[in-house]
């Protein structure tokens, strides 16, 4: 219970409001993080770029081939072009999202994937449904833009813009960032980044153990929240920030810097000591949330 609480507190810090429960059959909450609107839009633009690029390339190749060959081959080329166009427009998203990764190249590049909202397997009909809806979300507004409402009353143009806007901006107006397709298919898009495990920041017992001997009171100055901020600072490794943070910690715990003591080493040693202390208290059932928690 305490772990779950603390877990959600830690997660909520850097991605507020985007964490969703997913309890596996083994009873562990995986705390999925939803993709935000910017990531979704970027993934879509990437995919759209790939589609348009392929289409242009195919058209050029087919046009060149049509200049070389004559007669019945030309008709075959025409058919080929129609099928490529149809396939790219309708099958591109479906084919990629049906694979094990459940992501188009664009989504994959941004570390996103499609998942079923109820935690069950993503089915083919759901993938098909969410992408069939692109018809009214993307292609209808596009067609509308291209025709520019020629020969139509301004009122109708306005109604069309509102209509298109409702669908295009739909994800911005709900908590789960669902587009109409997600709504209809019962899916959502979650972050599923492929990442390497970065090295542990806690130092070796041998290294610097003698030089940095903190007293118990000095270590007790901070809680879990500060520990995580410190972890973040060390990982970002920006020298200005490290100097600033090291200075503050030294002042807080009353630590006099030695002559050849680097700020980076000091923070590393303090991080290790603080984490060791807090983890030991954790084992005894007490999670010290922050420095105000006693």
């Amino acid at each position: 219970m305490a772990a779950a609480e603390a877990g959600s507190a830690a997660g909520a810090g850097d991605k507020p409001g985007r964490v969703r429960r997913l309890v596996t059959p083994e009873g562990v909450d995986l705390r999925l993080v939803l993709g935000d609107a910017g990531e979704r839009a970027a993934a879509f633009l990437l995919d759209a770029g790939i589609i348009v690029g392929c289409l242009v390339a195919a058209t050029i190749v087919i046009l060149i081939a049509a200049l070389i060959f004559h007669g019945p081959t030309q008709e075959l080329l025409g058919i080929l072009w129609l099928l490529i166009f149809f396939g790219l427009r309708n099958a591109y998203f479906v084919a990629f999202e049906l694979r094990a990764g459940a992501a188009t190249p664009g989504k994959r590049a941004l570390g996103l994937r499609v998942a079923s909202r109820d935690g069950r397997p993503l089915t083919a009909d759901a993938v098909f449904a969410r992408n069939a809806m692109r018809e009214i979300e993307v292609y209808l507004p596009l067609t509308f833009l291209v025709t520019k409402g020629r020969g139509v009353d301004a009122w109708i143009v306005l109604a069309g813009i509102v209509w298109c806007g409702v669908f295009a901006l739909f994800p911005l107006f709900n908590r789960d960032r669902l587009r109409v397709g997600d709504l209809v298919a019962g899916t959502w898009v979650v972050r599923s980044p492929r990442r390497r495990l970065l090295p542990d920041l806690a130092g070796d017992a041998a290294a610097g153990g003698g030089r940095f001997a903190f007293t118990s009171a000095q270590i007790d100055a901070y809680g879990v929240k500060e520990l995580q901020v410190l972890e973040d600072v060390i990982r970002r490794n920006s020298s200005a920030m490290i100097i600033e943070v090291a200075m503050r910690i030294r002042r807080k715990i009353g630590w006099a810097a030695g002559p050849s003591e680097s700020d980076r080493d000091f923070l590393g040693a303090y991080y290790t000591a603080l984490r060791g202390r807090l983890e030991r208290r954790l084992l005894f059932g007490h999670r010290r949330r922050d420095k105000f928690d006693t």
């Binding site: 459940a102 083919a124 298919a185 019962g186 990442r195 983890e279």
Partner: protein, 332 residues
């Protein structure tokens, strides 16, 4: 080798290799599909997944290494999606679709399909009556590029020629064009249903109007029966498909407006997934219709044969969807 100071460090060092192995295998699967792993590697994934999951639980309870917990969460989520995902082959999936899913989903839409059919019939009747009364109505229903010279000013001879003269070449191209065009329209009809059924219903009526207007043009020239053969050889398949697309769209719109016992989200999701199954079938039907229209109609000139094909196709589709049958294994 570094000597770990903390217990959580030791915990991590002991298990890191297993996590990395799981990560590598998942990467390969996500990129190339599950087939790239051999049996032993594949069987190891659920085991590694459960080990990682238990590590995550322990880490949440005992470790304050935020990086570690984040990493394990994303690793476990990726493994979860694979372990509890669908893992049927393409052929299994296709077989189940044709034997079970498609007819079931289409049958479940029978009310909406009947309504779509009624709307089309209504459109046809109204358009027929209007055009017979005042031929100028024809232009309202049939855009000139589709009419292609077939309008109230055309002669009987010309109209007859449109029914029987084949285009000299380009038949396969024509068939492909018809297929892609119609499939796109059907997808729009489906997607539009989301807006409370209204656009889908409107499209159904308009579809009927075009048929009615064509008949109103040909019947006065004594070509009604012949037009029927020309239209229905592919029309039974195509209109059936259009009706199903509209029906699937209307089901979604209906679920949006009146979700019934379920929550609105659940009702819409269910309607959408069932509708998508039907829509995949509709694309197949329209492919058939495109072949019949582009090739069959251009090569078969006899009215009787055209009507025979029309009837046979209609019966075949209706039998496939609605013939009562026992479902295998009693599964829904």
């Amino acid at each position: 080798m570094a000597v770990p100071t903390l217990q959580s460090q030791r915990f991590r060092q002991e298990r890191e290799a297993d996590w990395a192995m799981l990560d590598t295998r998942l990467r390969r699967i996500e990129r190339d599909g599950a087939a790239v792993l051999d049996d032993q590697q594949l069987l190891s994934i659920p085991v590694l997944y459960r080990a990682a999951l238990s590590s995550l639980s322990v880490a949440r309870a005992t470790s304050l290494d935020h990086e570690l917990i984040d990493y394990l969460e994303s690793l476990c989520a990726r493994a979860y999606f694979f372990v509890y995902g669908t893992r049927s082959t393409f052929f299994q999936r296709a077989g189940r679709f044709f034997v079970r899913d498609w007819p079931r989903a289409a049958r479940a839409l029978w009310r909406e399909t009947a309504l779509a059919g009624l709307l089309m019939a209504l459109g046809a009747l109204v358009a027929y009556a209007l055009v017979r009364q005042d031929p100028d109505w024809f232009y309202a229903f049939i855009p000139s590029q589709i009419g292609d010279g077939r309008d109230p000013s055309a002669t009987t001879e010309f109209l007859r020629s449109t029914l029987y003269e084949a285009k000299p070449q380009g038949l396969p191209f024509f068939a492909t064009f018809l297929f892609t065009h119609n499939a796109q329209i059907a997808l729009v009809a489906f997607a539009l249903g989301f807006a409370f059924c209204i656009p889908s219903a409107f499209l159904m009526i308009y579809n009927g109007c075009m048929v009615g207007a064509m008949f109103a043009l040909f019947v006065p020239h004594g070509l009604g029966f012949q037009l029927g053969g020309w239209l229905f050889i592919h029309g039974t398949t195509e209109l059936f498909a259009a009706g199903l697309a509209g029906a699937a769209g209307m089901r979604i719109g209906w679920a949006v407006a009146f979700p019934g016992d379920k929550s609105r989200m659940d009702a819409v999701g269910e309607a959408g997934r069932d509708g998508a199954t039907v829509m995949f079938g509709v694309v197949i039907m329209l492919f058939t219709a495109g072949l019949l229209e582009g090739l069959g109609r251009q090569m078969i000139r006899a009215d009787g044969v055209r009507y025979f094909i029309a009837l046979a196709m209609a019966l075949a589709w209706a039998g496939y969807f609605y013939w009562p049958r026992r479902l295998a294994n009693g599964r829904r």
